[in-house]
Every structure is written in C-alpha cells, then in structure tokens.
C-alpha cells in the first residue's frame, strides 16, 4: 500500500563519520560529548545505536541531519557534507514534536505542505500512513487529545511522508505498549527492506536493536565513544520469533558485554 520509490542506490556508503569530535558550549564552560567517533553505514543498512543516557546518540543523529555543528572530523551523507533540509532524510525526534494546532492529519501532511505538494497522491499518502500507524479513526484529533504513544505514531507517519531514503529514528516507540511497539517495529523493518532505506535506530532496548539491525553500535559515555560494533547475522525479514534463537541470544550477550565495559570503567 505504500508505494515504492527508487531513491537509494543500494551500494556504497550512505553515511560516514570519521574522527568526529563534538563539544557543546555550556554555561559553566564546555561539555565534550564525544571524542573521535567513527561510523560507517552502507546504503541499505540498518544499524542501531545503544548506550547509556547522555552518551551522545541524539547528537550523532542531529549531526548527520545537519542540525548540529561538530568540532572536528569529517561527516559525509550521500557523499555530501551534512545539510539540514534535504528531504531524503526522515528524522523522527526523541520527542514527538507535533504542532498542537494541527490535527493528526494536518501534522502528517506538514512535510507536503512545506514542499508545496498539493497533489491528490500526497493527500492519499497521508491517509495511508495514518492508516499504517493505526490512527485512521483519529484524523481530526489534536495532539493534546492523544496519548503519548499515539503522538509518537503520528510523528512516525510524518517522518515517512516524503518517503525519505535515510531514516533517523530516535527512540521512536518508547512510549508505546509492548504489543504496538512490536507491530510498528515489524512495519519499520518491512519499510526498510521493501523500500531500500538506510536506517539508524536509537533505542534503549538491546533485544529491539538486535531484532531490527544489521549492526548494533554500542556506545559508552564520558566522553562518548564506540565500545563495540556487533554484526547481527540473522536472516531477513526479521520477525519476533527470532528472539528465542541462540544466535539472537548470543548477539544480545555480546552487546551487553560491550556495554558493561563502561560500567566497570565508570566505577574504577
């Protein structure tokens, strides 16, 4: 039902960060969020970022989306410097960021409105996306009338609106119940596979990261750095029944071990 468009070329690096440093200026001086981070993401790949709160996961996504400057290093997105406003990136923020004066439908239609796209096709797509996230009976509700989980689903539908080839998902379904979360994760995996997206997911759930990803990047804090880069060798399409397999459990353990280094390091 969601139409397929050929945007990703399916080969080569979609996103790369090389030795990127990020320092935030703060009232009391400066905060080194991470030092010399390097990440390579191939086109069509699905990776997850896991790590403790404050290690800079959201900041990495913002740098890729061109929303946050960085202090040194090289970042390339589709061969170019990161730049805000390229519509082939769909960024779902950690907060839903819905416009309180817009109904569910108007919020999902916002990207089209800004792109001056008034076509019937885009109107239909808005409805299809709302249907996908299970809110077709709530078209006219305002965000204040939605639960946190419903708000996140609206934000997810909006993220997909312009059919971006790169998906940056910052804890997209954190406010959803287990059941809907699993359903939407399966949808994300489907969209990623079928429409050849390049996706980065930030999550606090290690099993979720394993289930969704080709690779999981374990990050540590103070300063942020890569602790482990774990390839997930599970067949696609991914379905929740993989969770019981030994391969799955091993991957989860590998990530846990990689992350545990920080805790020991922090305690020392």
């Amino acid at each position: 039902m969601l139409e397929k468009t050929d945007k990703a070329d399916g080969s080569g690096l979609a996103i790369s960060l090389e030795n990127v440093d990020k320092i935030y200026p703060t009232a009391t001086g400066s905060l080194e969020v991470f030092r010399s981070i390097s990440l390579q993401i191939r086109s069509g790949e699905f990776i997850s970022l896991v790590g403790p709160s404050g290690c800079g996961k959201s900041t990495i996504l913002k740098i890729i989306a061109g929303l946050e400057p960085f202090n040194s290093g090289v970042v390339k997105v589709g061969g170019e410097e990161p730049r805000a406003g390229r519509r082939d990136i769909g960024f779902m923020f950690q907060q839903s960021v819905l416009m309180p004066w817009r109904t569910v439908r108007e919020n999902v239609a916002l990207p089209f409105e800004i792109a001056h796209d008034k076509s019937e096709k885009s109107k239909q797509r808005v409805l299809d996306l709302i249907d996908l996230v299970g809110l077709k009976n709530n078209l006219k509700l305002l965000p204040s009338e939605l639960s946190g989980g419903m708000q996140q689903r609206v934000a997810f539908a909006r993220t997909l609106a312009l059919d971006p080839s790169i998906l940056l998902l910052d804890e997209p379904f954190a406010a959803l119940d287990e059941f809907k979360r699993e359903f939407l994760n399966v949808e994300v995996a489907k969209i990623h596979d079928d429409l050849k997206k390049t996706s980065i997911l930030v999550t606090h759930s290690i099993p979720e990261a394993v289930l969704m990803s080709d690779r999981v990047i374990a990050l540590g804090a103070h300063p942020g750095r890569v602790l482990g880069d774990i390839a997930i060798d599970l067949p696609r399409p991914r379905t929740p029944d993989l969770i019981g397999t030994t391969k799955f459990q091993n991957a989860v353990k590998q990530i846990r071990d990689a992350l545990a280094v920080t805790e020991v390091g922090a305690a020392a």
Partner: protein, 269 residues
Amino acid sequence: MSATHVQNAVRPLEVPLYQRKTVRIGLPILILLITCLSWEGLSRSGVVNPITLPPISAIAFAFFELLGKRFFWEAVIVTLQETMLGFVIGASVGLVIGAMTGTFPMFRVALFPFIVAFQNTPRVALAPVFLTWFGFGMTSKVVMAAVICFFPVVINTVAGLAAVDQNGRLLYKTLGASTRQTFFKFTLPSAAPITFAGIKTALTLALLGAIVAEFVGGSEGLGVLVKEFNFQLRVDMAFAVILVLASIGLILYGLIEIAERKIIFWVKK
C-alpha cells in the same frame, strides 16, 4: 427482578456543595442582594449623606435616565473610539516591536532594558504630558491608551517567542522550510498563546488609559462625564456612568475571549 440491577447501578460521584449550580449562581446573587439592600438602607436611613452615597434605587433611575440622553451616547462613542484606536495602534506596534525584539538578538540587547524600565513606570503619569503635546481632543487619549497597552503586548510577544519549542524549529529545518514558512507556520502559532494573554491585558488597559487621559483634561467622553457629574454632586449619575464603564469593560473582555477561543483554539482551559 429489576431490583438486583438497581443494586449494581453506578452511583454518581458526590458533588461538592460549592460546585452545585444552585450554589454557584445563588451565592453571588445573594451577596449582591445583601450589598444593595444594606447600601439602600444606609443611604435612606441618613446614616450617610445621600448626596455622597445616593441609594442604589437612585443610581438605577439615573442609569435609565442616562440611556435616554444624546450626550451620553456621544460620550460612549468617543470613549470607545479612543479605547479601540489606542488598543489597535498600541497592540500592533507592540506586536511588531515585540516580534523584532524576540527574533533579533541585537534588537533585544538594545531595547529590552528600556522596555523593562518603562514597564515598571506608572505610565498613566504621562497623561498630563500627552495633554500638553496633543491637546484636549481625542489624540491625547488615543496616545495614552496606545502607550499603556503597548508594553504588555511587547513583553508577552518576547516571552511567547522565547518559549517556542527548539525541537519544533529543528523539525522545520529538516523539512527544508523557508524562513517565511517557519515564521508563519511555526513560530507565530507557537508564540500565539502567550502573546494573546498580553493582548487581552492590553484591551483592559486601553480603556483605563482612555479614561485617565479624559480625567486629566478633555471635553468629551465617559471619563469627562464621571468627573463633571461628581463636580455637580450628582454622585448617582457618576455611579451610573461607572456602571456603564464596567459593562463596556466586561463586553470588551467577552469579545476578546471569544476571539481568543477562535484564534488559539488548541489551548484548552
């Protein structure tokens, strides 16, 4: 047979006494009645001089007498014109200056200290000066009303713009929105609720500004009527005009509440 069902029926929650409709409407009316009756009694019994405190009934008569007078309606129109003109001018200039102050840091750094200083000055003190500058006509009243409602609008517009969600700004950036789109489709509506609170205050203040300016020096308007009736010791008439002013204030407030509910419909009270 149906008795068992009745047992299971949900009992409505106990409504506190003060929330009951009869109490919420009845109590204020009762207080009004008591006040009027004791006022009437006080005045008629001669405990206070009926010239300085005329009985409520006399004020009611005066009120209806006023309604039939041409000069009264002319005064209403003058004061309303001063208030509305002052409000529109003061609020518009306030919106523009506030938007610039809230948007451009250079503006903010340059202007904000003065705005705060003026905000804390009793601005009605300027009324005599405006009288000297703009004369006894309507202009000095319009200027007073405008100046007095300018400040809450500026302050609230700046506050509204400062409260805009930074993540929302980032979202519009990722969507490739133009500066214009971001302003009209994001910044403006985001700042609207707080800005509108300033506009509401401004309308109430505009009426105040017009009346004060009329007191200080003028030949027409409801403020002038209050003053003149007072000089003639027609306190009943003066009270009747004050009653009219109260009604005008209430009506203006009601209108702007309706406008508010239409414009920032997403803010639930």
